[in-house]
Symmetry: C2
Subunit: 157 residues, 2 copies
DNA sequence: CTGATAATGAAAATCATTTTCATTCTAGTG
DNA sequence: CACTAGAATGAAAATGATTTTCATTATCAG
């Protein structure tokens, strides 16, 4: 990186609280990536994150964005999703976004992705009720559940 | 193909019933691919299908297996799944397998994939109850639902 | 049988992601 | 404050699944 990635923040004085408390060494690249994720409403592809990050620092490389996202993901700060088009997209963790647990409805016509929350079982906590159902019926311990519903949104239907 | 792919079956006398009635022109390659899918219990990767197919006909190419699976998939004879390891796997359609609608439980430890049927809502028809819930709440028309549950199976848990 | 059309296979092209490797930073330590 | 082992970075090369290209071969309606 041309200008050095520490850029005087010492031990996270300027940024880095979230990263440090997650046990991630705060660097400029990581901060920028996390900041982009934090300020985006929904999900972003790696390429999109790169674009955003480069608005602040041209020199950041694609590889580093991949690595940073992977790191944020393995530390639970961002979710990694796959909407079936052959590339990963990332979004802020449910906790950090304040959205709470949700799944996705993906329109095959316009491509729009909207959040799905609640369920016919428990209006609030779908994952919870599925988990206990699965535990009881299969003795399988659910760690992560991913539901993708493909179809037509209200606009396209 | 060295020996010609019709190999004397005329209009599906030997095989090809299923394919013909689905509007797919029956060829040796397609029949072999479909036959492999039919006789396999669960899901197979493209490479695995190729292996099996080549036990009957060495000359079959990988490209053709890709194309055949895609064709069978777009005609509803096989399902195309993604267990998150970067490659597609295919399995016989729920109708043809007689399994009925099901989702998957994927163990992150041993990699085993087991079928998930039923739900806390409707013991028999999970997808159905989700569909109506989604239609009512979001006015979204569900065409295909994919649920992947990652965790630990009873052996590994 | 025969020609128009479709299917096939090998090799090349794609494309997202990962790896390699030389360089640059960072966080202590003295 | 200088120094160094270890971590992070970026560019380029490698990977690996899937797709495309294109010349060849097979199919089937007439």
């Amino acid at each position: 990186m041309r200008q050095g990635y520490g850029r005087g923040q010492g031990r996270g004085h300027r940024w880095g609280r979230q990263l440090e408390s997650s046990g991630i060494r705060p660097t400029l690249a990581r901060e920028l990536v996390f900041s982009v994720m934090e300020s985006s409403e929904g999900h972003l592809s790696v390429e999109e994150v790169l674009q955003e990050v480069r608005k602040s620092e041209e020199g950041i490389g694609l590889t580093t964005v991949y690595r940073s996202l992977e790191l944020l993901h393995s530390n639970g700060l961002v979710k990694k999703l796959d909407f079936g088009d052959g590339r990963a997209v990332f979004e802020l963790s449910d906790t950090l976004s304040g959205k709470g647990p949700h799944q996705h409805l993906i329109c095959r016509s316009c491509g729009q992705v909207q959040d799905l929350t609640g369920s016919p079982v428990d209006k609030e906590d779908f994952a919870g009720s599925m988990k206990s159902f699965i535990r009881e019926k299969y003795r399988f311990t659910t760690e992560n559940m991913e539901i993708k519903v493909y179809g037509l949104c209200s606009e396209c239907g």
